[in-house]
Amino acid sequence: MITAEIKPIEEILEIIEPYDKIILAGCKECVAVCAAGGEKEVQFLASALRTARKSNGREVEIREVTLQRQCDPEYVEQIRDFAGDYQAILSIACGVGVQYMAEHYTIPAVPGLNTAFMGGAVQQGVWSEKCQGCGNCVLHLTGGICPITRCSKSLLNGPCGGSSNGKCEVNPEIECGWQLIIDRLKLLGEFESRYAELFPIKDWSTSRDGGLRKIVREDLKQ
């Protein structure tokens, strides 16, 4: 999922300061799972913002909505009927959702979250990064552990000299990605065959190179 965290409420209050009538839009997908922008968070944030504004003697009207997704035009369009009655949309979806709102409506769309990374749950209330979307997956070669994400230096031929007792020199709380890969390859019986082989220089053109990335499926396109 795409993970995100709520912005400090003082910052959100500052962002919505010019407005007296806003839509607070949540999303039922990734950000709901990581407890940042789902229906529950919409209700709590709306209540907190109303409380702060009431106590400042300048109330704010908030329309609470939680869309199935904010990264799909058909769902974003669901607020069309009443969007014109409001001055701004405070989106607590990921950055994708905020931009969809901005593209679809002429009123300002402002963010309530800081979008973080692609990851998953470690335990209740803890999420960790798993994928950097490099566009050229090598997980089949590394025992299912991503060297781009799990190694702090994104090394393809690790570990480096900063690996000590299975921990990374960047932070002793971070496990060395390459130690994890080696242990996993040994467990799978693939260590001898895989580890000796050097990775060639990676083609990063599928990653952060060349501007905006796009996927086009001609078979699905209309």
């Binding site: 709590f44 907190a48 409380t51 106590s55 400042n56």
Partner: protein, 124 residues
């Protein structure tokens, strides 16, 4: 045994049912203070309900301070259902504490009554 008449009781099956939203809504509606009364720690019938509530109360306290509302307006106490006298004592103590802080700024619209800097000042 009398407890202050301004205390409004809301019964819930376990403090584990208390959601951050319930607490925030009370403040939004202009309550001067909220007291969560849970069972003694380690004696929750559902094992960890009161411990979960404790975490939520702490979270809402932090949020209140960012909203400029004195987090002392929200309190949590632990006592058993058999401790009636203790409840009266707590209800009176909380009422006195909240009365000293004054009416909620949500009702008066008088602006921030609390800032992190103020808290630091009090501590030092």
């Amino acid at each position: 045994m009398d407890y202050p008449s301004n205390v409004k009781l809301i019964r819930i099956p376990c403090t584990g049912r208390v959601d951050a939203l319930h607490l925030m809504k009370a403040f939004e509606e202009g309550m001067d203070g909220v007291c969560v009364a849970g069972c003694l720690e380690g004696e929750c019938h559902f094992l960890t309900g009161n411990l979960r509530a404790k975490k939520r109360v702490e979270y809402v306290k932090k949020v209140l301070s960012t909203l400029g509302i004195n987090p002392e307006r929200l309190q949590m106490y632990n006592l058993s259902a058999a401790m009636g006298a203790k409840f009266v004592e707590i209800a009176s103590e909380v009422t006195d504490k909240i009365r000293a802080i004054g009416p909620s700024p949500v009702k008066t619209g008088r602006g921030r009554e609390f800032a992190e800097e103020q808290k630091e000042g009090e501590e030092s």
